[in-house]
């Protein structure tokens, strides 16, 4: 067993960090809220970089890489609140497996694909022109009309979609749908990991600088211990994300539990990190100008995507009991 990123992954993360921190930022997320500016780096740039299409086979114009590689990139995307999300790319790459033309369109950007879930708002509906959904067990694809929602987090492009005429792609598609959903949950959790890890850095930095009563606030246990709890949660989330991504590539039997655990942990960890870091900053943390609330918005939005955390915990429990009963 060797449960750690390889050098290849670390190099990939470094490259992705350079690209994403140069092309996306919390400031851009704020501008999206303030002025309705487009998300950064935006779909075209993400595709050009090659990062968005890592899991599409090379034969169809993608990177031919692994879910783990995409997760490594997604963490970096989460750090800077990049958009659009890598989740739709990951899901669509699974769902469109048997459809070379559409896959190629996804890879070259001629199709802007979003996946519609029953119970959740549609992620990155804004800017998408092609929609995939499951209707009575059949995977269907079609154009749609998008009605933007009032965003809590403008980087998520949430909207309602009214589907136009659809084409049936796969009958009895439930297993395929589930697999795609689980890969999507894994990538969503990886983006959450990046956001939470970045929040922790912000909180720790500030706790070292800010003095009250003649001492840095980070020397007070009430502050220190809150940040430690965030640290522990972030590291555990990191382990769950890597495990889920590895399972998606190598151990499909473990993917249901691993991806549900990662999704649930991402929702609670990002929320804990955001609320903690606002508190650690005091008044300045409650301002529009401070970055903390942009991450907080991400937390308050992402928890509802691909099923909420309550659903994910329930799924973990059911899987755990089912496995135990076997």
């Amino acid at each position: 067993m060797n449960f750690d990123l390889d050098q290849e992954h670390l190099d990939l993360a470094g490259g992705a960090r350079d690209f994403l921190s140069g092309s996306a930022s919390p400031a851009a997320a704020r501008a999206a809220l303030d002025e309705g500016a487009g998300v950064r780096p935006g779909r075209a740039e993400l595709i050009k970089s090659g990062y968005a299409t890592i899991t599409i086979p090379e034969s169809h114009g993608g990177g031919g890489g692994t879910v783990l590689q995409l997760a490594v990139v997604a963490e970096q995307a989460g750090r800077v609140l990049a958009g659009p999300s890598l989740v739709n790319f990951a899901r669509a790459a699974v769902l469109l497996e048997g459809f070379p033309d559409r896959l190629a369109g996804l890879a070259d950007g001629s199709l802007a694909v979003a996946v519609i879930d029953d119970a959740s708002p549609v992620l990155d509906a804004i800017g998408s022109d092609t929609f995939l959904t499951l209707r009575d067990g059949t995977l269907v694809c079609g154009p749609g009309e998008v009605m933007a929602r009032r965003p809590i987090d403008a980087t998520r492009g949430l909207g309602d979609v009214t589907l136009g005429e659809t084409t049936d792609l796969v009958r009895d598609a439930r297993p395929l749908w589930r697999k795609a959903e689980r890969v999507g949950r894994t990538i969503l959790a990886a983006e959450g990991l990046g956001a939470a890890a970045r929040l922790l850095e912000m909180g720790v930095e500030y706790a070292k600088e800010r003095h009250t009563f003649g001492r840095p606030i980070g020397s007070y246990q009430a502050v220190k211990h809150m940040l430690v709890d965030v640290y522990v949660a972030v590291e555990q989330l990191r382990s769950l994300v890597w495990w889920a991504a590895w399972a998606a590539d190598r151990a499909p039997g473990e993917l249901p539990l691993a991806s549900a655990a990662a999704k649930a942990a991402a929702a609670t960890t990002l929320e804990l990190a955001a609320e903690t870091v606002i508190q650690v900053h005091g008044g300045i943390g409650y301002t529009w100008e401070h970055d903390a609330h942009l991450y907080w918005r991400r937390a308050k939005t992402d928890r509802f995507l691909l099923g909420d955390d309550v659903a994910a915990f329930d799924e973990v429990a059911r899987l755990a009991m089912g496995e135990a009963a076997r």
Binding site: G218, Q236, L240, A317
Partner: protein, 385 residues
């Protein structure tokens, strides 16, 4: 990244399994069982060969631990010796001490205990008062230790003493190996909140210790103790996942009882199982990351404390759920889970309390400033005023 056993690891696992199959343990004879395991090469796997160990890898030890846990075998009786006392003797002991003690410790021919905590020194270990005074070619020790696990059975202990009260408190300490059967050593069992008596008070009344039973230099006891505490972290490897019940066992138990609960309670029970289970998986997989680091030869850092912290929390939450799905009957029944429930509060105190671990992680991992301390820059004698 790869979770599968390497061919070497798989072969080792098969060897361990085959052995465990052929040799069921005898619960009433924990010492004999440890000796049997040792003779087969499955105790002290990572210890150097010169120290009586096998010179193996942390991964090999982890596989032994996994396989014994899988069969529901209890931990070895001499765990404190193997995890803490032995490694301290390996690093700081003389050749004579290593020859005399280590192999016997691994075979449980001798049992060991760790004599650190005192009535006025637990989290603040360096505040300890047990005095060791020079006496010819040896020392005379007087004082009291407390919470000493296994002292009532132990043959030897590592004993942290104060040899110089007139320097700052971390500097005047010296470590010894003490013979628990020596004249002047009195052990009085204490009863824990769960009714067991695994820890003790130990009184030292002018106990003579030869100088060649010193571990490390005079006045260097704090550094020696840090070796012990570091090894404790290592032996808690697996990220604290050896604490409390296995999450799978809790899930099995909940599955067996959930059907009898009203619908709304079932929903709640699943939420709690989900939360506890995710936390336990998080701790388990974080433990795997640490194990992988150890296998590459990296030292266990302070981040290993996170496993004990979170492992204790999720064990308590899951055990609480296990008790509660029994319904009101749990007030009088469900002994297995009640016992576990009464054991776990001690885990949040022993080996560094939750609060102390948070301080350690906050300061050494996150780099947050330490608190101001009232005992800085003064001698031990001044600090106790």
């Amino acid at each position: 990244m790869d979770f599968d056993d390497t061919p070497d690891e798989a072969a080792w696992r098969a060897e361990v399994r085959a052995f465990l199959e052929r040799h069921p343990p005898v619960p009433e004879q924990p010492r004999a069982w440890q000796a049997t395991l040792y003779d087969a090469g499955f105790v002290g796997v990572t210890w150097p060969v010169e120290a009586g160990g096998r010179g193996g890898t942390p991964m090999q030890q982890a596989i032994v631990d996994q396989e014994t846990a899988r069969r529901g075998l209890p931990p070895l009786i001499n765990l404190i010796g193997i995890g803490m006392c032995g490694p301290t003797v390996i690093v700081h002991g003389s050749e004579r001490q290593r020859q005399r003690y280590l192999k016997r410790l691994l075979r449980a021919d001798d049992l060991w205990c760790q004599l650190f905590s005192e009535p006025s020194a637990g989290s603040d270990l360096a505040a300890l008062r047990t005095r060791a005074v020079r006496d010819g070619d040896g020392w005379r020790v007087s004082g009291q230790k407390v919470w000493t696990t296994l002292a009532h059975l132990a043959d030897f202990g590592i004993l942290l003493t104060r040899t110089d009260p007139d320097v700052p408190k971390h500097r005047g300490l010296t470590m010894f190996v003490v013979d628990m059967k020596a004249p002047g050593v009195t052990v009085r069992p204490l009863r824990q909140m769960n009714g067991d008596s695994h820890f003790n008070e130990v009184f030292f009344d002018d106990v003579r210790i030869p100088d060649d039973e010193r571990l490390g230099d005079v006045g260097d006891g704090w550094r020696v103790a840090l070796t012990t505490l570091m090894s404790e972290r290592l032996s808690l490897g697996g990220g604290g996942t050896s604490i409390g019940p296995k999450p799978e066992a809790v899930a099995r138990h909940v599955a067996a009882h959930i059907g009898a609960l009203p619908e709304d309670r079932q929903v709640l029970a699943r939420q709690e199982l989900g939360r506890g289970y995710v936390a336990a998986l998080g701790a388990r997989y974080t433990g795997y990351r640490q194990l992988s680091k150890l296998s590459r030869g990296e030292l266990p850092g302070p981040e290993a404390s996170a496993g004990k912290l979170s492992g204790t929390r999720s064990a308590r939450d899951l055990t609480d759920l296990a008790v509660r799905v029994l319904g009101p009957d749990a007030a009088t029944g469900g002994a297995e889970w009640q016992d576990m429930q009464a054991l776990l509060p001690g885990m949040a105190i022993a080996g560094g309390s939750d609060q102390v671990l948070r301080n350690i992680i906050g300061e050494r991992v996150l780099g947050l400033p330490a608190e101001p301390r009232a005992d800085k820059g003064v001698t031990f004698r001044e600090s106790i005023g």
